[in-house]
């Protein structure tokens, strides 16, 4: 009995973080009552609640999650956040380095940039210098170029604009296009292709993996051989060969979907293997037997009982699969095999820096790489935290 009490106490400390037990005796009794109440709350808490509690304790994972949320939000509002559109060109400002934004103008808060002057030195290199005499205050929620917010609402409001001048936080590329706007628009494609690719692999992987684990026998054999076959190809060469088959003249949207499909060709095998193992462990549980005895059909048992039971696992696995998808798209587009302009993804943006010369002279065109690295890191941190939280009963 006392053993149980100490166990409960430990659990209580673990979940509530109230380790302070050096209280007066009288108060201890009172405390005991509340303790029991909180303990009851813990015992009665659903698995999801426990997972959440464990998850929010992992600071690194929280940071990862917040970063990813910000990424997707900025992708959603790319048109609003970006001062320019994808096709805006500043013929006057080619390969211009990033501008500095000054926040205080004569002691009061008024963000501004200096206008830029262009000089050409004796090597015919372009030198951009800020024109210190011309301050251009930034206007917020100002009218700029028309675009469609969420692809639906026509508007021309941008978060910030520099009327009469250029504001370029990350510099411009070889056609004088604003890198900041392009990275923002690129995130729309890169982040959604990761999401879509994972969803697609998930649907193949769930159906085949769960069927494989549930039925066993020849179904299992067949699916496992298929997985082995797919996995006996090295991933990147197979992706390269498949996307080389996408005709260049296809419309952007079709290319986008086909490339997503190609990326999922290999991704599903991993998910299927993971889920098969999970289902193999679950199918002999009592709740499956109970469902069977109650006369539930196979499909009902699979989709109503087994798939939800593996849900936590599915979320973890798909979060960890996201970086691979995003990277694969980036790598393929970087080689010129995946997405091609006019579709703009991070990989397409990176394709422009394939030669060392441009990195050396114009390092700011390399910023999409930083955007990718941060996203990948954030996904990994989040996935790791989710994996730990998905099993809330171990410490």
């Amino acid at each position: 009995m006392s053993d149980l009490a100490t166990k409960s106490e430990e659990l209580y400390k673990l979940y509530e973080g109230l380790a302070d037990t050096s209280e007066d005796l009288e108060e201890a009794e009172l405390e005991d009552l509340t303790t029991r109440k909180s303990l009851e709350a813990i015992y009665a808490a659903s698995q999801w609640r426990l997972m959440w509690r464990k998850f929010i304790r992992n600071k690194v994972a929280i940071v990862g999650g917040v970063v990813i949320l910000l990424y997707y939000l900025s992708a959603l509002f790319a048109g609003l956040l970006a001062p320019y559109t994808l096709s805006t060109r500043f013929a006057k400002y080619i390969h211009m380095p990033p501008q500095r934004v000054h926040f205080f103008n004569d002691g009061k808060f008024q963000p501004f940039v200096y206008d830029v002057t262009l000089e050409i030195d004796e090597n015919l290199r372009k030198i951009y210098e800020p024109d210190l005499t011309k301050k251009v205050p930034l206007q917020f929620f100002a009218h700029g170029e028309p675009y469609k917010l969420f692809g639906l609402i026509e508007t021309d409001i941008h978060l910030f604009q520099a009327p009469g001048a250029i504001v370029s936080l990350l510099g411009t590329d070889r056609q004088g296009r604003d890198m900041f706007s392009r990275v923002l628009y690129g995130s729309q494609v890169s982040l959604t292709i990761g999401l879509l690719g994972v969803l697609l692999s998930l649907s193949f992987g769930t159906v085949l993996g769960v069927a494989s684990g549930y039925y066993g026998g020849w179904v299992d054999d067949l699916i496992q051989r298929l997985i082995e076959l797919v996995r006996s190809f090295p991933a990147i060469p197979l992706w390269m060969a498949l996307s080389a088959a996408v005709p260049p003249h296809w419309p952007p949207l079709r290319t986008y979907f086909v490339v997503t499909l190609i990326l999922s060709v290999i991704g599903w095998t991993w998910l299927a293997r993971q889920l098969r193992g999970k289902v193999l462990a679950l199918r002999n549980e009592d709740f499956v037997l109970a469902a069977k005895l109650a006369g539930a059909s196979d499909a009902r048992i699979i989709f109503r009982h087994l798939v939800p039971a593996t849900f936590g696992h599915i979320i973890v696995v798909s979060t960890l699969a996201m970086p691979a998808m995003i990277l694969a798209e980036t790598a393929l587009s970087f080689l010129g095999l995946g997405l091609r302009p006019p579709i703009t993804s991070w990989g397409v943006l990176l394709k422009e820096v394939q030669n060392i010369q441009s990195i050396a002279l114009y390092p700011w065109v390399f910023t999409p790489a930083a955007a990718i690295a941060i996203a990948i890191l954030a996904f990994n941190f989040l996935g790791d935290g989710l994996r730990d939280a998905s099993d809330p009963y171990t410490i």
Binding site: P234, P237, I356, F366
Partner: protein
């Protein structure tokens, strides 16, 4: 054991046949063939071949036959070591592919060595200095290595090497050395260009291995026989190196086996970025120009390399851990 190896090798054969069929179908997917692609290229630069010539060439190389006939013709050469004719390089496919495969294997093998030499000591250090600042720093570095893909690392290295260190980066060797006869200077130059791709390829896997080594060792260090050894007054160095590490290292072999496919796959794209002669650059060209036998043979051989290395990993696992018995 011998019987097991023979059976595994025999089982590879049907898989390889299916892989060859799938490879052939994949490289046939793009519309047109080598000659139509070539003609389109020539037409772009102003010249032009008449349709008649293209047709004759297609007939000459059997490209007008139905797919299965073309496939059977390709496969029937395999036993003789004939893997087809590269239309772009105007030479048999096999020597081109073998040369690239050899370099890929060399770089991949080196990156495996790098992985082991770096990851295991770091893992041991992290585990014996758990939660120290250096442990956290190493873990973070590991995470970073895990998150940066090979081709980004390759690009970063090219940038860093060329701009900051001002050394020649990329390529198999320096341009002025390429035609020189073999000498010590040339060998050094060759090695100087060999290690960066190997390190870059191994970095992600090193991070993975380091994390797992740390975890394994921590598990082992908590076991009772370690406490016993310590209680007997054994030197800590001996406890760690002779008692714990030996046991903790075993599972790493299967982890390494899982990293091999990644290395083979990444080597293509790292090779393209750094323009080193792995399979990557040629495979890309062959795919773009629809030099189908070359592309198909590359896919086939890389799959073979993958299967062979998986087999080797299984054998190594059995050799290292006497509890595993294959029959």
């Amino acid at each position: 054991m011998t019987a097991y190896i023979l059976r595994r090798v025999a089982a590879m054969l049907p898989t390889l046949i299916i892989v060859s069929i799938v490879s052939f179908i994949i490289i046939q997917l793009p519309p047109g063939d080598f000659f139509t692609t070539l003609q389109a290229e020539i037409a772009q630069s102003g010249g032009g071949q008449d349709k008649e010539t293209v047709k004759k060439m297609q007939e000459r190389y059997g490209l007008d036959k139905p797919l299965y006939v073309q496939y059977l013709r390709w496969v029937s050469g395999f036993p003789r070591g004939d893997f087809g004719w590269s239309l772009e390089w105007n030479s048999p496919v096999l020597p081109i592919v073998l040369k690239r495969m050899a370099y890929t294997t060399l770089v991949g093998g080196l990156s495996l060595v790098f992985m082991v030499v770096v990851a295991i000591p770091i893992g041991i250090y992290s585990a014996t200095h758990q939660y120290s600042i250096s442990d956290h720093a190493l873990s973070f570095l590991g995470f970073l290595g895990l998150s940066l893909p090979g081709f980004l690392l390759a690009l970063l290295w090219m940038f860093f090497g060329a701009i900051v260190l001002r050394i020649p980066v990329g390529g198999e060797m320096s341009l002025e050395m390429a035609d020189a006869p073999w000498s010590l200077a040339k060998l050094l130059d060759y090695l100087n260009h060999l290690w960066p791709p190997a390190v870059i390829l191994g970095l992600a896997s090193t991070a993975q291995l380091q994390r797992i080594m740390r975890g394994n060792l921590l598990d082992v260090l908590g076991q009772q026989y370690i406490t016993t050894a310590r209680a007997k007054g054994l030197a800590e160095r001996k406890v760690v190196n002779k008692y714990a590490v030996r046991v903790a290292i075993n599972p790493l072999i299967s982890v390494m086996a899982m990293e091999i496919p990644k290395i083979i796959s990444e080597s293509t794209i790292v090779g393209i970025v750094m323009s080193v002669p792995t399979t990557g650059p040629l495979l890309l060209r062959a795919l773009l120009s629809q030099d189908m036998y070359l592309a198909g043979t590359f896919l086939l051989f890389m799959s073979l390399l993958l299967m062979v290395s998986n087999l080797l990993a299984d054998i190594a696992l059995a050799w290292a851990d006497p509890r595993i018995v294959y029959t």
